[in-house]
Amino acid sequence: MKHTQPQLDTSPEVSDEIRKTTCYMCACRCGINVHMKSGKVSYIEGNRDHPVNKGVLCAKGSAGIMQINAPSRLKAPLKRVGPRGSGAFEEISWDEALEMATSRMSHLRETAPEKLAFFTGRDQSQSLTSFFAQGFGTPNYAAHGGFCSVNMAAAGIYTMGGAFWEFGQPDWDRTKLFMIFGVAEDHDSNPIKMGLGKLKERGAKIIGVNPIRSGYNAIADEWVGITPGTDGLFILALIHCLIKAGKVDLEYLNRYTNSPVLVNCDETHPEHGLFLRDDDGKMQVLDRTSGKPVPFDGKGVKPDMAGTYRNAGVTYRPVFQLLAEKYLGEENSPEAVADRCGISAERIRHIASELAFTAFEEEITIDQPWTDFRGEKHDKMIGRPVSFHAMRGISAHSNGFQTCRALHMLQILLGSVEVPGGFRFKPPYPKPPEAHPKPHCKVTPGAALDGPHLGYPMGPEHLALREDGSAARIDKAFTWENPMSAHGMMHMVISNAHAGDPYKIDTLFLYMANMAWNSSMNTKAVMEMLTDKDENGEYVIPNIIYSDAYSSEMVAYADLVLPDTTYLERHDCISLLDRPISEAEAMSDSIRWPVIEPDRDVRGFQSVVIDLGARLGLPGFVDDNGDALYKDYADYMVNHQRRPGVGPLAGFRGKDGQGKGRGEVNPGQLDAYIENGGFWVDHIPTEAQFFKPWNAAYQDWAVERGIYDSIQPYVFNLYSEPMQKFRLAAEGRGKIQPPDHLREQVKATMDPLPIWYPPFEGTRVNEAEYPYHALTQRPMAMYHSWGTQNAWLRQIHGRNPLYVSAEIWKEQGFKEGDWAKVSSAHGEITVPVLLMEALNGKTVWTWNAIGKRKGAWALDEKAPEANEGFLLNHLIHELLPPKGDGLRWSNSDPVTGQAAWFDLRVNVTRTDAITASEPSFGTIKSPIGQGPNEIKVGAK
C-alpha cells in the first residue's frame, strides 16, 4: 500500500474559556488554568505567570479533573443514625445541621468553652479558623503542624526567623552545591523539581541525604543513605570538621549572628547561660577596640569573639567560643559518628571539604550596594553558593528539633543564609521568634480567649499552664513535656480526650483530618477511643463534628458531617497572614474562586465557619447589633481587616486598587485577583533582595507593605537563650518550675546549642529485638489519603508493598512474592514485601496512606488499597512504651511535641503466603455509594 495520509485539523478549538485559580491537589498551591468546555472542566494545566509553578504542574494537579468528579464526594449534611463507626447516616438540611452544631456549642461557650476542641488538618485557612476558635474562647485549637513538620518550622524560627518551604528557598539560580535532607518526594513539590532542573542544567552538584534513594534522591549526584535518626550526628560532624579547619565565615558570624554575644558562664549564677544585657535589655558584645561590653547593634562595633569579659566575679564568654569548644570535641569527629550514621568517616570529611570549597573558594558577588541596620554601607553583596533544604525526614524524630537547629547552624556557620547563592527567605519571613505571638490559654466563659492560641514561648512564663500547673490545652502543647510546641499537638487530642487527661471535653470538631485512619498514630486504638462508651452508655468523647469534602475513613466516626466543596467550587485565600506563597524576590498571595458551581448540597467549610461564628455571636463575626458581619468567605476575604489596612489579601487594596500590603478595603478586590490570574505579586526592590534581616532597604519595604509595623532587624540565634531559660528552671531556678519527673528531660534536651541524642523509641526497646528502622514516604503523585479516590492517580500508586533493603532481604531469606510480619514494641502487621537495593541496609519503608479501610472513599471492597494495602500507623503508638512510672510519655519530640513517626523500630520476618494485609477491619457503610465501572473523560 503506497504511503497516504488523511487530512488532519491541527488547530482544533481548545476550550471555550480558561479560568485561573489555585490548585489544591496538595499543599503547594500552584497556579492553574482550568479549561472549560460547555460549562464543564475539560483540562487543567499550570499557569505560566504564576510565581509558584511558572506553568508546570505535577501529576496530582493535572489529575484535578478526576477529583471534582470523584464518586467519593459527599453530597449533603449527614446525621449519624447508627452506632459510631458504622457509617449509618441520614441526610439532613443545612439548617438542621447548623442548628445541631450551634445549640450545643453555644451552651459550651457560656459554661466551659474549653470543652470544644477544634482542630483542622491540612487546610490553608488557619488565619480564619484560629480567629473563630479565639472568639469562641476555647484554648483547644491547632492545625496539623504538630504531626507534620513543626520541628522544622520551629527550629527555623527560633534559630534564624524562618525555615524551609514557605519560609524560604535555595537561590536556585546561583547555588553551586545543594544538600537535601530527609525530603520524601514532596514539599514543596513543583518548586523543588523546578529548582533541581535548574541545578542540573547548570551542572551544580546535588547531595541527597536520605535512607531511601527515590525521587529527588534518585537524581542526586551523590547519595548519602544515612541511618534514620542520625542526621544530627552527621551534621555536627560536618560542623566539627569546618570549625576545626577554621572554615567558617567569621565576618558574617560577627555581624549577623549572636556568635559574639557574651554569655554568663558562672554555673552558680541565677542567670547562668543567659546573655549579658544592658539596662535597655540589649545584648552585649565585647568591643575589640575598647575591650568593654557594648550593645551588639551599635554602629562601628567590632565584636571580639576571641576575648572574655569578667565583671563582679562572673566570667562572660562569647557564644562562638562555647560553640567551638562544644563541637571541637572528639565525640563529634567523623570517626566517632561514622558507624552510627552508616556513613564512612572519609565521606563525611569529603562532604565537609566540598562545603568549605564551594562556600569559600567559589564565593560569588553581586555588584549591588546595600546598607545594613547598623547604618554601615556595603558596596557589593557577597555570596556563599551552598544551599540546603530539609523536611520531615529529619524533623519527624524525637531528636528532630535539635537536628533541624544543627542544620541551620551549619548553614549559618558557612555564611550561606540570605546571601547570593545560599538560602533566601520569602516574605513575610524573615521574622524572629520575638516578633511572633506568644501562646494564650486564658478561658473566660462567654468571652473570647485572651489572645492567639499558638506562638513561640520565650521562656517558662509563656507556657500554657493552668494555675495548678496542669496543662491548659487538651493536647498538652506548651507544657513542660514539650515547651515549644508552636503548632500544637493534634496527634494527642483524641488520646487525651479519651483519657480525660488533663480534662474531659464535650465536642471534638475536626476539619479535613483523617484521624480515624492515616493521620493518627495507633489507628486501631484511635477508632476504639472514638467509639468507646462510659459506664452510662454514653460515648466517652460525647460529640464529634467533622467536615470533609470526601467520604474519608473519619466520616464514619462523626455524629454530624458538614460536607465541604471541592477546590474548584469554592473561595479560598492563600494569605500572607497564613501560609504564604511568596518567592525570595517577591511577596505574593492568591485566591481560589468557584470556577464551577457545586452540583451537591455542600458548602465551603470556611463559609460555614463564618456562619457558625455569626450564629454563636462571636466577636469579629457579628456587629454591635449581633448581625452577621460577613455573608460568606468571599465577603470576609475582602472586608475583614486584621489590623487597620491589613486584611487577608495584600493585593489590589485601597479605593483605587493600587494598594500593596496596606490599604483600605477594595470591594473590587476579588475581581482584580481573578483578572490577574488568581494571584498577586509585588517584587522586592533590587537592593533589598538579600541580607533581609539586616538590610535597611528590606526592613523599610517590609514596613511599607504591612509585613511589620516597625522595622525589626535581628541577629541569628546560634545560641538559643529561650531554651536556656527552660533549662535554668529545670535546674530549680525561677518561680515557674517543671514537675520533678520532667526536670532531667528538660535539662537533657533543651540545650541552647544544638545537640544529638538517640531517638527515644530506640532507647526504650531492645534493639536486638527490633533491629530495623521503618519509614514512610509520600509519593510525588499522591497527597496523603486524597489520591486514592482519583481514578488516574490510583492507577499509578494503587499498591504499597513494604520495601526491604538487600541486607534484610538476605537475613530473612525473602523471595519474590513473600509476605512478612512486621512487629514493633506496640503491634504487628502482615504485609507484602519487595526488595529494594537503593535503601539503607537497616531500613524498610512503604508509601504513606495508600492503604484504605473497606467502604471508604467510594472504592470497591475488593480494591487493592483495602486488601493488600496497609498502614504502618498500627505499629506506632502515640505514647512511648511504658517505663514503669505510671506516666503517659508522648511519642513526640520533647522540645516541640512533634510526632516522632520516624523513630519507629521494627522486626521483619517471613510468613507463609497470605493474600490480605493484617490487621483488617470491617467494612464501613458508604454514605455515597460506589463509583462507576467505566469512565470516559472528555467523551464528545
Binding site: 487543567i44 534518585a218 576571641a306
Partner: protein, 249 residues
C-alpha cells in the same frame, strides 16, 4: 500492509533526560488529561474504583534499580511513549492503512476511522508503546500532541506537547531532529543522547540522555583534604587563630 514515507521533511520528537527525571508522573497525567479530550476517542478507564483499575495511557513512567559493582544502587526513572520511529514496524504491519507516519514531520499516528482494532501494531511495536482502548476498541498512541504543536488557537509558547509543557524538572524537550541546530539535536550531541534498543533497526526519533556518573568514590588522596587542615592543635591555639583571623576582617 502500509507503507512508510520515503523520508520526512522534519523529524519531530522528544529528548528525555534520564539524569533529571525524578519519576513524578506529571507527564503521564498531563498526557492523559490532554489526550482524553483531544485527538480521537477518549482514553477510557475500566474498573476505575475497583479491584483492577486499568485505563489507557499514552505515556508511562517505569522505574528500574541499577546496581553498579562498586557504588550504591541507583533508581532510574524511565518515561516511555511512542518513539515515532523512522522505520516504524507498527505502520508497515497495519492491514488497513490506519497506522501511518506523517510525511511532513514524521509523527506516527492512528487514523481511528480506519482502525479495526486488530492489535497487530501493538504486537509489532517492540517498545510496548501502543495501547488498545477497551471502551472504543481502537488503538491509541502518543500523537506528539499534533493537536497542540501547530494549534493556532494556542499561544505560540504553548505549542508543544502537554508532557513537555508540564514537566516540572525540565527533563523533557521537544524539537526537530532533522535540524542540526535545534535544541534537541544539540542536547543529543552534547550529552550523548542514545536510541532505545538500536539493534532492532526501528530508528527511533525520540532520544534519551543518559544519567551522569554518580557517587564517585572519594580518592585515596582527596584533593580537597588540605581545606580541612586544623588551624590549631589545642583550644588555646584555636583562640589564637581566632584572634588573628578577627584582626584581618
Amino acid at each position: 500492509m502500509t507503507s512508510l514515507p520515503t523520508e520526512t521533511a522534519k523529524k519531530l520528537g522528544l529528548v528525555i533526560d534520564l539524569d533529571t527525571c525524578v519519576g513524578c508522573h506529571a507527564c503521564v497525567v498531563a498526557c492523559k488529561g490532554w489526550n482524553t479530550q483531544g485527538y480521537g476517542a477518549p482514553l477510557s478507564d475500566q474498573d476505575p474504583y475497583g479491584e483492577s483499575p486499568s485505563g489507557t495511557f499514552l505515556n508511562r513512567v517505569h522505574s528500574f534499580e541499577v546496581k553498579p559493582a562498586e557504588a550504591p544502587a541507583q533508581l532510574v526513572h524511565f518515561p516511555k511513549s511512542c518513539l515515532h520511529c523512522d522505520d516504524a514496524p507498527c505502520v508497515t504491519v497495519c492491514p488497513t492503512g490506519a497506522s501511518y507516519k506523517r510525511a511532513e514531520d514524521g509523527i506516527v499516528l492512528v487514523n481511528e476511522d480506519a482502525c479495526i482494532g486488530c492489535g497487530l501494531c501493538a504486537w509489532a511495536c517492540p517498545y510496548g508503546a501502543r495501547e488498545m482502548d477497551q471502551a472504543e476498541g481502537v488503538m491509541k498512541k502518543c500523537t506528539l500532541c499534533v493537536d497542540r504543536i501547530y494549534n493556532e488557537n494556542l499561544p505560540e509558547v504553548d505549542r508543544e506537547p502537554a508532557c513537555v509543557r508540564t514537566c516540572p524538572s525540565g527533563a523533557r524537550h521537544f524539537g526537530d531532529f532533522a535540524d542540526e541546530t535545534s535544541n534537541v539535536s544539540k542536547l543529543v550531541a552534547e550529552r550523548g543522547g542514545f536510541d532505545l534498543m538500536p539493534e532492532l533497526g526501528t530508528k527511533p526519533v525520540n532520544k534519551y540522555l543518559p544519567p551522569r556518573p554518580k557517587d564517585q568514590a572519594v580518592e585515596e588522596f582527596d584533593i580537597l583534604a588540605p581545606l580541612l587542615e586544623p588551624v590549631a592543635t589545642d583550644a588555646g591555639g584555636f583562640l589564637g587563630w581566632l584572634d588573628k583571623a578577627l584582626e584581618r576582617i
